[in-house]
Homo-oligomer: 343 residues x 4
């Protein structure tokens, strides 16, 4: 069993990490960190547990420690990080310098040239950017990132279409409130409403997608040349990001070809990888967040409504934003790190 | 006072028509129709009143009659129609043949070559298609349509940008449940959910927008050449359609120019026309349905978040779907018909 | 394996029955019925599947038959019924007369003197009313009812308190929309709203609770003498009925005694019985529908906020209305019928 | 025109106060206060305006000052306070000592023996407790309180029934999220959920109601002897508190008598008093928050579903919690203070 630590264990993604890691066959939760005000408390006291399964007894009694390499201790083999990005920016390098391998969901450094940004089923080969990272920074550990929840939702579907040479992508997102954390969106803001702006989100979709689908020659990632334009909306949904995507390709692409490419896109043998990776619906009104977010235990991507429009192919896709889009994405990267011998 | 009748007076749009027409300075409600099962009842009995102002006393006691020219009687000068489209298809021609002028919100015949499809502030000149209609069909009355609620939301903003020569438009809609009528969307379908498909809706945005912005030479409307691709979503919001729009133009267009063009787009002097027609927000997170749907008494369009993206200009717009997008649109067309002497 | 049939298999409760029965160790789904218009279709075609787990493959391809004993066939040993009560009233006696044992969730006949109304953990002994029923009606089969979803939520907590001699009960319910079936509550009715009335519901709580807690001497059930007053509200929640209860008892009852009595109330060894039956929270703001409705796989009851008020003891309770409150309740009665040898 | 100041002008109730006071015929907004961090900013900058009417231009440009008598200045005749109770506790006495008359919505000191707690239509005579207050504290100004929003909702209906000698009251509340302020309830807490506890709320209903309906002999208020037991729930509704009430009276009371007493309960001639005060519905499923909260411009109380139960009379009532229940209640007390010559 690999002993793992969770940085930022009391937040929304931290709680999902615990929910996923506690029953995991390869990982054993050995350390939980949170802000100074929580350090020293039991996890039960420190966390306002809000996931829809009871808090695991083995975790409830653990002591929360400060988010600091010394506090975590040396008998931890792998770190999962779900810190606010400003905290991650400051703290994650300290952990890697201290020799830890960190699988991080935090948004800091995702676009750094020597930091692998990975969705295992899409660009597992980018993981070897760790070698470059170690060379350049003199680190023993490693820092690996998963993309933003809204990026993870549509990139697998684009990955299935790259053979047709994607030129432009337009994407409108309908994002669930859990993506902003437990306190991110007040009820007065969102009931009977929608908010057509999420700070910094559109840029994440536009840049992270091009890195994920970029080529890697062993030295650097060459951003994919497609032009991506995103518009992001918050809607009154708890979990599950839904996205409307238009794709224009250099090669002619029919809805049937796109559906086949998505449905047949290969998954991996990692413990948390779903099979199939992309669930393609024939019904035009699917996927829907409440009905389809738990496909593949929340790790699948769903697509549907594929059709030709006056400006390219249009379809909709969905993933569970705090599982496939956050906690599950980090766990999956941890599984990949283990399989590839980095842990 | 012009005596008016309302076809389909008990439905969601019918109730809004009553709410708008009852206090109107130029119109007097003289007849209310509904399906056979309601005919003969008082309006209070026939309608399940659900608008957020009390049912007007003068209307509550009126008798509902069948949706039939004979039942409506000859002392009505103008008809507002909010019938289901299948019923409208069958019944509206009978009213026009009987000499009535009909301002209709129903979706049937909107794209017919000799039926004016009008947003007064955008293409009032199309109204003269009535002459062609009368010539061709031998009608004394007239049939005028307003567009679909989702079309009305974005077309005024496009109208402000036509000088830059629009080539392509992508639009994703986040539509309120009231757009489907009182019984259109069940609570089990939409709470904690979103539905990425509304039957026939995308095509309405794609075709009606080109007719509204098309040229009219007195004989026929020449569809605008822009390519419009729409994706329509239902979300858990009561009123107010929000839309994400991308526009690519032949002439270079900056966000500042677009904002100025929208904010300065002229309104009309009709009683229900708002001033300004388009309210432009500087705040990137506006407009929002709950906060902005009642601007201009529900007759304004709001826009915001205007910015340049890798694929053209992007912005968001909003209107109140059952006022500006339906009942108010029909009333406004009625006011235009009156001003132009057709009533 | 007991071969079971489901009457009304395409509705909201019918779908939950399939979800619970398909993986059941003792029951095998052998027949599915629906209205005439669905008969002859595959279940996949006939049902608009809306449960949050995929439709079981073994069920999807089954043919739906008419709700008629002849159509169901003789190789079915046990019937689960989730028919609209008007249909149940007409059809269930025909099934029992034809020799079927019927575990029914439909509201018809629940208060009939010779029909056992049973929550196994509360009044399993009432099941023997079947003997009276057979004597009086000359039936070979049997008709057993589970109570209404809102009744099931609070009765187990009252059962734990009967030793203190309950005199009066006030109960206010906050009920989820799924209790009205998929089409029961429109989104326009309930978003940003609450409805303080559910037709016939208060009476069900007031009478069914007294039958469930009544004495049974082998011949008839003597209604419990407590006075129950209910007020029922529909709120914008998908699943899980929450109830505020006040209890006045002849014997003095402290919150601690009540909590102990509830937490220690015995469950049964039936496959679907949860352990514990009643989950008692210390936190005053629990139970909550979204967080606690799936306790015990949706078969537990949760209670909390127990305290003394100027007029007796007050507490809140919760159960999952379509599992413990409907489909799961019928399955549990089926398990009891099997254990007691009636099947 | 009476020059008024608003303490805590940027909060949810503060914004409603501005919305009500800006067009008021007798009051002129002369000072706005907020926390230190907002002092010195324009109101437009300091407030995140979230009311559904645009921010009044005359107010937007005003400077916000610190919540301090010196900062407010001497040319203000009347103060409206909507401070958090801990701040109100500290600051309100300083204002009164400095000679200001304060109409406060804050919960501190509501039950103090020499502080009038007033709903003008119910107990305007209690206002003269100001004389006692001035005597005891040596104040020139005065401190007057309105009750909590959930108290205001049901007390007018009880006031209509006091002639029947109320002995016990049970009340379950279904409260809107706006009652907790803009940031009080997160969306993750309340979408698809309900919370059966609001800290301190039940006690407010139980005690404030008895003070409001208590006798006043010119020296002190004698609490009404009725026993009130409350249970408070937060539900996913934006505005409007709905309450289920059971009343047991010493004198026999029929539903018809109760309906007549409520419908005929007298209102006042104050500018913001609605007529009627209590709107009584015959329909059993009314009042409903979304449909009925704006009756009487949000200042009316609605009641319905009146019926006899095994334990007394049961009915439901509703009021708009941030208008009649908070900002409007304070304005109304201000109007009463003006009419009675205290301002």
């Amino acid at each position: 069993m690999v002993r793992v630590g969770i940085l930022g264990a009391t937040g929304a993604v931290g709680q999902r990490l615990i929910q996923l890691l506690e029953p995991h066959d390869d990982f054993e939760i050995a350390a939980l960190t949170a802000s100074e005000s929580s350090a020293g408390k039991s996890y039960r006291e420190a966390a306002k547990w809000r996931v829809d399964s009871p808090i695991p007894e083995s975790v409830a009694g653990m002591d929360v420690v400060a988010t600091d390499p010394d506090a975590v201790g040396s008998d931890v083999d792998l770190i999962f990080s779900s810190l606010p990005s400003s905290v991650g920016e400051a703290v994650e390098p300290a952990f890697v310098e201290a020799g830890y391998v960190v699988s991080s969901n935090s948004s800091n450094s995702r676009m750094a040239a020597d930091v692998p940004l990975v969705i295992p089923e899409v660009n597992a080969d980018h993981l070897d950017l760790i070698e470059v990272q170690r060379d350049e920074r003199g680190w023993d550990g490693a820092l690996v990132k998963n993309p933003n929840c809204s990026t993870i939702t549509f990139v697998p579907t684009l990955a299935a279409l790259v053979d047709w040479d994607i030129e432009t992508v337009h994407v409108a997102t309908l994002q669930a409130v859990s993506g902003a954390g437990y306190d991110g969106v007040t009820s007065m803001e969102i009931i009977d409403n929608a908010i057509p702006h999420i700070g910094g989100e559109a840029e994440k979709l536009e840049t992270e997608s091009r890195k994920l689908l970029g080529g890697f020659d062993g030295a650097e990632v060459d951003l994919n040349s497609m032009a991506v334009s995103a518009s992001c909306n918050r809607i009154p949904t708890l979990d599950g990001h839904l996205e409307n995507v238009w794709v224009e390709t250099a090669e002619e692409l029919t809805p049937e070809e796109a559906a086949d490419a998505m449905a047949g896109y290969p998954s991996l043998d990692l413990p948390s990888s779903p099979d199939p990776l992309i669930h393609v619906f024939d019904e035009p009104d699917r996927p829907q967040p409440r009905l389809d977010r738990t496909l593949g235990n929340g790790m699948a991507v769903a697509a549907g409504g594929i059709e030709t429009t006056p400006s390219g192919l249009q379809y909709n896709c969905l993933s569970h934003n705090t599982i496939r889009g956050a906690a599950g994405a980090s766990v999956l990267n941890g599984e990949l790190l283990l399989e590839r011998g980095y842990v």
